[in-house]
């Protein structure tokens, strides 16, 4: 589903602050894999993530999504495959727009946005049914501006917005980093159920080793721009939390 071939990314080339964020990374992610990426701060995991999302264009190497070469395709054109949940819970939604308006745009992620009024009763019901699975009571607040909700609520809605249109890849960039433990738990459980229900290919960056152990069926560790560990489902299943802590020792 996602393929990286010898991808290298150098920031500020030729200057004193030159950084090699990715160093010759090759990676092949199959359809339906739920990949967890761990790594210390500055290890290059966000750059890897942004390379897949299209927010970063690699210095060298090639990127394929669903069999199509997308190396230089900007992020807004990759939205036909990719849905994203950001680290900052406020980045995935527009605060001044209502919940309904936000969901309307999400429902058109892979399509053009025409000069037609698309919000009707049927659409409202669809959004209500989607939001109801959170059990937060937000399904009755469709006309409330997104900005009036908490970070946890907005992150949960961002996650649900990803399934409003056809999604093949779900990218989760530390989606729970800014949330309290209870909201974080809800987000990850919802993510897990969506990934299973819609058979999504998912990539989840996290600093939380417990989450890394609990979720996903493949585990990657990045260190200084290189993939240093790649565990398949069985290896990951047999992995102890203790061992993972030692990787960072």
């Amino acid at each position: 589903m996602i393929q990286l071939e010898q991808v290298t990314k150098v920031f500020n080339p030729g200057r004193v602050n030159e950084v090699m964020a990715l160093n010759n990374v090759s990676l092949n992610i199959q359809q339906g894999e739920f990949v967890i990426i761990i790594g210390a701060n500055g290890s290059g995991k966000t750059t890897l993530f942004n390379t897949i999302a299209g927010a970063v264009i690699p210095t060298k190497g090639k990127v394929w999504i669903a069999g199509e070469e997308v190396t230089t395709l900007p992020d807004y054109k990759r939205s036909k495959w990719i849905a994203r949940v950001f680290q900052n819970p406020f980045d995935g939604t527009a605060p001044d727009l209502t919940i309904l308006d936000n969901f309307r745009l999400a429902a058109l992620r892979t399509q053009s946005k025409p000069l037609k009024i698309g919000i009707n009763t049927a659409f409202k019901r669809r959004v209500q049914n989607t939001i109801a699975r959170l059990g937060m009571g937000l399904e009755n607040k469709l006309n409330q501006p997104m900005g009036t909700l908490s970070g946890g609520q907005r992150q949960a809605l961002t996650l649900l917005m990803s399934i409003m249109d056809t999604t093949t890849v779900l990218l989760l960039d530390e989606p729970t980093a800014a949330l309290d433990p209870k909201s974080a738990d809800i987000i990850l459980k919802v993510a897990q159920s969506l990934i299973e229900e819609y058979q999504l290919t998912a990539i989840f960056i996290t600093h939380n080793l417990k989450d890394a152990q609990q979720y996903g069926n493949r585990l990657l560790q990045i260190h200084e721009g290189k993939l240093v560990r790649d565990l398949n489902a069985t290896e990951k299943h047999n992995l102890l939390l203790q061992n993972m802590y030692e990787w960072f020792g």
Partner: protein, 292 residues
Amino acid sequence: MDFYLSALVLSLCLGAMSMGVFISMRIFNIPDITTDGSYTLGAAVTALLLVNHWPLFPAMFISMLAGATAGICTAYIHTKLKIDALLAGILVMTGLYSINLMIMGRSNIPLVNLSTLFTYIHFFNNSTYNALFTGTLIIGFFVLLLWFILLTDFGIAMRATGNSSSMTRSLGINNNRMKIIGLAMANALTALSGSLVAQYQSFTDINMGIGIVIVGLGSVLIADALRIWLNIVAIGWQIVLVIAGSFIFQMVLAVTLSLGVDPNILKLVTALFVLLIVALPRVKNVLIHQNE
């Protein structure tokens, strides 16, 4: 009475520009100074075409196209060359001064004895009533048009662009393209405003646009105050409030003039009035904190 009625007609004419400022400032969060230039541009193109006996509506349409082009220039400089929006607007505005002079060929073109939008309709014996009727009709049309556009899927995408650029990119919206379309729309409305004012006052002057952006800004700020006060969320009614803001602004100026204030210091009064609207909520906050 006629004095205040003509202030009302003028506020309708300027309402188109206020809608433009609403689009650039409120929807796209871009301080667009192109306004000063595109307002005069609209008036200049209308004057040139009417003097050359063009039919009225094509002349107004071309004026709006000219304004849209000016907006596209600013948006291109801002998005493609990554130059600050404020500077991009100032550059285009400055350039437009010469372009407007070239279009007009001199600094003032009178439009008396020419058929304009305000001599088009003769429902009433009083010409101000006729102008009021025509003005309401045309501004009403554009209010409803913008209202509709902002409710469509495209309009939601427009509103989201200025609100959360990370969100729009992840949902497949090309932010730069949106900004270009947005500034084109904003400056087309501004040019329409210039065209209407020129027809209403029966002349186009090269200096008529100087500082006009502040009038639009003031109208949008009054609309903001009204919106918070009346607790209005719906985007359509916000456009109506912008027109109301334009009306209140012109009324304040009309009252100031009728009090016998020297017209030469009218710009100063305008600036102070806008300062007052911006500062009022803050002054109120300071006073509340002092009392605590």
